[in-house]
């Protein structure tokens, strides 16, 4: 089972590799990837340095070019594919069908992974991407229960990577337009959700208010932990009650499911968080490295160590973790 970790910067990449990641994934400094954050991501020189660092230590590097190009930007996206190929990346993580086709024709020997943004939730969808674009691996959206993952895994034409830890998108990825409805950026168009440029914090007599492009996403009482106002994790009013109507601020943590994921033949588990600090990436990678090693040494006897769980909980949004959609009751 491969441990795939986020690299939003060269220090984060090194932290992940040092702590035992089998692979890291990164993106370029523009809207061609789904984590476009100011100050993050790689130019060609840093990418080359990162790839050298990882390869020298036996880790692979994937490049995410997983937003959806429109005609006006098409050449930037194809150039990103070519740049990644020239840099000697080990695999491309792509979502757009046109770009998958381009990569398959131009760089047939460079492995193509379907991004979670490709929104393939069934093995029939995976067959489509496999038949037409020769994908080798797919990352599953975070909307499937463990039994649904089992159905997909047992018929999948390609190896599967699943999200194991980090921020929880609860909408089918690649088809969520909530962010561009409130702001002018979405994951698909600009690689951003609830972009920081549109966030405003304001102390008011009613409490600390968090707005996204003017829309009140949440209001926190004194002493209440105030998380980033991701629009689906705010408190809203529905039919007279105010609550987290879409989702609580919480992180996905599937460490307890590791044996099941292994039994299903899942090829890789993915840690979310290219926007996180190198320290965070190092700590999370280390905890998952230990968990996977314990599982491999003694598959029948796996149990999550309390210390790893505590580490992960302390690094989680709102200090809370959930099994998310993997657990049927969550729905």
């Amino acid at each position: 089972m491969e441990l795939v970790c986020p690299a939003g910067s060269l220090p984060a990449l090194k932290a992940a590799v040092d702590q035992g990641a089998n692979a890291v994934y990164l993106g370029f400094k523009d809207s061609t990837n789904a984590r476009q954050f100011a100050g993050l991501n790689f130019d060609d020189r840093r990418a080359a340095e990162g790839i050298d660092y990882a390869h020298a230590r036996g880790a692979r590097v994937f490049c995410a070019i997983n937003t959806y190009p429109q005609p006006a930007g098409w050449a930037n996206w194809t150039r990103a594919v070519d740049r990644a190929a020239d840099l000697g990346i080990d695999a491309l993580i792509l979502a757009d069908m046109g770009l998958l086709d381009y990569a398959a024709r131009r760089h047939p020997d460079l492995p193509r992974h379907l991004s979670v943004q490709g929104s393939a939730t069934s093995y029939e969808a995976l067959r489509f991407y496999h038949n037409h674009f020769g994908i080798r691996r797919a990352v599953l959206p975070r909307v499937l229960s463990i039994s649904q993952v089992r159905d997909v895994a047992s018929h999948s034409p390609v190896e599967l990577e699943v999200f194991a830890f980090g921020s929880l998108c609860i909408m089918a990825e690649g088809r969520c337009y909530l962010s561009s409805y409130l702001t002018d950026e979405s994951p698909n168009t600009r690689g951003a959700c609830s972009p920081a440029k549109d966030v405003r914090w304001q102390e008011t007599p009613q409490g600390l208010e968090a707005r996204l492009n003017g829309v009140l996403i949440d209001r926190f009482a004194d002493g209440e932990p105030a998380g980033y106002p991701t629009l689906c994790k705010g408190r809203f009013e529905v039919e007279g009650s105010v609550y987290h109507a879409i989702e609580e601020p919480t992180s996905l943590n599937t460490m307890d499911l590791l044996p099941e994921l292994q039994a299903l033949g899942i090829a890789a588990i993915k840690i979310e968080g290219r926007q996180r600090s190198p320290a965070y990436v190092g700590q999370v990678t280390s905890a998952w490295r230990m968990a996977i090693d314990r599982l491999m040494q003694n598959p029948g006897q796996y149990a999550t160590d309390a210390a790893w769980a505590a580490t992960l909980a302390s690094l989680s949004e709102g200090g809370q973790t959930t099994l998310g959609a993997y657990h049927r009751k969550w729905k």
Partner: protein, 301 residues
């Protein structure tokens, strides 16, 4: 002439309500009607055979009928339903995800695509056109600039596959495995008691300043305001858009269709700036703005 379509009903209405809606729609000046359940597999009052029967009746009334596939496919049961839909043998399928694309292309069937499919560029369109794409829908978050670019590139390639634009109604913006209506009632999704049937046009989700932000409808989240491209109809006509999609609501739909029919004939009276509207519409996506924004025509160059 520009055609009008009725998109699939996104809400959960009882079978009788569905049948009476389409009995009326048979007399409206719409050219195409999309039938089927696209949101939740648990909504089963209308079975495939019911949709097929309804489709035949509407076809006899001169409507072109298509069957829309479920947008988020999650389970083996969903796939079984999808296979039945795609092999119906009578009506062209509107593919709303890649599983549907797989089934129709494998069977070498002609197909159309709905707005939830991520067709953002001409390279993607060319691939699907080779596979039998008959008409495509612009993703809801894209606007006139990208549409114009895509249409121009298609024309340059000698391709004239018609394009449909979601032009009126609450915009479908996201799909989840979680049911937000059941969650509101503290019910598990597996035992939701079909509470969404009590909300034939969804539930408003408001900010704590009473601003309508989104609209919850089962596992789907829609825009808080209605998208309305009525005043943009002449522009779409000039650009070469083929079909305008109007999204069904249980009240006032005949009047909506009538206004768009007037607009496509160039007979729409000028907007009355003093007219009261019950809820402000939005058109931001069309102009490359945040979706919820309402751009006034006079502000547009």
């Amino acid at each position: 002439m520009l055609q009008l379509s009725l998109g699939p009903i996104l809400w959960f209405w009882g079978k009788q309500d569905v049948l009476s809606f389409y009995a009326e729609a048979a007399d409206w000046p719409v050219d195409l009607i999309y039938l089927g359940e696209t949101v939740c597999s648990r909504r089963r009052e209308m079975k495939l055979d019911d949709w097929l029967g309804l489709g035949r009746e509407l076809q006899q009334c001169g409507k072109q009928v298509l069957l829309s596939s479920q947008t988020l496919i999650e389970s083996e049961a969903d796939l079984r339903g999808l296979r039945k839909l795609c092999s119906n043998g009578e009506f062209v399928v509107e593919a709303n995800d890649q599983a549907a694309l797989q089934l129709v292309t494998e069977a070498k069937l002609p197909f159309v695509t709905g707005p939830a499919l991520t067709l953002y560029n001409t390279a993607t369109l060319r691939i699907l056109i080779r596979q039998g794409l008959q008409r495509w829908s612009l993703p809801v978050e894209l606007g006139r600039q990208t549409l114009a670019d895509m249409l121009a590139e298609l024309r340059a390639d000698g391709l004239d596959t018609p394009c449909e634009v979601f032009s009126w109604g609450f915009l479908p913006l996201a799909w989840s495995s979680r049911c937000f209506t059941a969650r509101h009632y503290n019910l598990p999704k597996d035992n939701c008691q079909f509470v969404c049937k009590q909300h034939p046009d969804g539930m408003a989700l408001r900010s704590r300043e009473a601003q309508e932000v989104f609209r919850l409808n089962g596992i789907s989240t829609l825009s808080g305001a209605r998208y309305d491209l009525l005043r943009e109809v002449p522009e779409m006509q000039r650009m070469g858009v083929s079909v305008l999609r109007l999204s069904p609501e249980h009240q006032g739909m005949a009047a909506v269709v009538a206004r768009f029919d007037q607009a496509r004939r160039g007979e729409l009276p000028p907007a009355d700036p003093l007219a009261l509207v019950e809820a402000p519409p939005c058109n931001g996506y069309w102009y490359g703005e945040p979706g919820r924004v309402q751009v006034r025509r006079q502000d547009v160059s």
